[in-house]
């Protein structure tokens, strides 16, 4: 059974309908860029004001784990791109597996991040809950970790939402809800997942890589 797309009356054809949906998704993604952008802007200003404190704080984060997390997200992005390609070629079985793989990588990202948070909790690096650092740079370190939790926390929330949606879509693909003519939902979810990946592409050097050479 091949899923057939219904064209709403305001559109000429399925192609125009799909293009409008893609455009709308990009408008939403622009708001997402600005949502994280405010945090990145705060980070930039605080780092300009406290370069040494930020370098010291960044060295307290787990760079090997952060690097693995980045590789995991980049790989998951390629898997979901391949899933969209598979559904365009009507290979539903492959698409289901690729989506499940994407979600699994997303879950592994969240688990690794959980370990990071736990490690930081044990090191007394959670401002407002358990923060015990001394020295002249302690306020700057506290500021860094505040931004760290806001940025990575909201990012992890986005990963969690992405994983949930992708799992539902994997189920729907397996049931035959999508096909070569009907895959807009899948494509838009893939766009969202790629954007979550792009946010992390910038989080990685800003959080984990400063002050590593000194």
């Amino acid at each position: 059974m091949s899923a057939v797309v219904a064209v709403e009356q305001q559109y000429d054809d399925p192609v125009q309908q799909r293009e409008a949906a893609t455009l709308g998704m990009w408008v939403f993604l622009a708001t997402e860029i600005l949502f994280f952008g405010v945090l990145f802007a705060s980070y930039t200003i605080c780092r300009v004001l406290h370069p040494i404190g930020f370098a010291i704080a960044s060295r307290r984060t787990d760079m090997p784990l952060g690097t693995i997390e980045t590789a995991v997200l980049l790989t998951s992005s390629s898997l979901i791109a391949l899933a969209v390609r598979a559904i365009k070629l009507d290979n539903r079985r492959l698409a289901t597996w690729l989506l499940t793989g994407t979600a699994a990588l997303g879950v592994s990202f969240l688990v690794m991040h959980g370990f990071e948070y736990f490690h930081e909790y044990r090191e007394h690096l959670i401002p407002g809950i358990d923060f015990m650092q001394s020295g002249p740079q302690a306020p700057a370190i506290e500021l860094f970790f505040c931004l760290y939790y806001f940025i990575t926390g909201f990012h992890s929330l986005h990963v969690f939402i992405g994983v949930s949606v992708i799992l539902v879509l994997a189920l729907r693909v397996a049931r035959g809800s999508f096909g070569p003519q009907r895959h807009t939902t899948l494509e838009l979810t893939a766009l969202y997942w790629h954007l979550v990946d792009i946010v992390w592409i910038f989080v990685y050097p800003l959080i984990y890589l400063i002050g590593r050479s000194g």
Binding site: Q16, L29, A30, G37, V38, A41, A81, Y204, L209, S213
Partner: protein, 103 residues
Amino acid sequence: MSRSRGPEHIVPVHRFLWVLAALLALLAISAGSALLKLGAWNPIINLAVSVTKTLLVMAVFMHETEARQLTRLVSALGFIWLSMLIGLALADFLTRSPLPPPW
């Protein structure tokens, strides 16, 4: 308004795999360069690598190369607004100088 009405373009698998390989190589470059003492070049290299990675993801994974001009324009807008936000905020903070009281 002209729009292509042909069958959807299918990107060959090897292009996705090459992009993934390039992304992982770029990740290795940013991680490796961060361990070298390059001074001001450390953040510059890191930022350049991130921008390159983003362009790769957008061009191939997000199908921007096949998208309409309007879609491309809108997809660039978020980044343009963000660069204005950060650029103008920095223009303020980097040019602040202490004003001594006149008395």
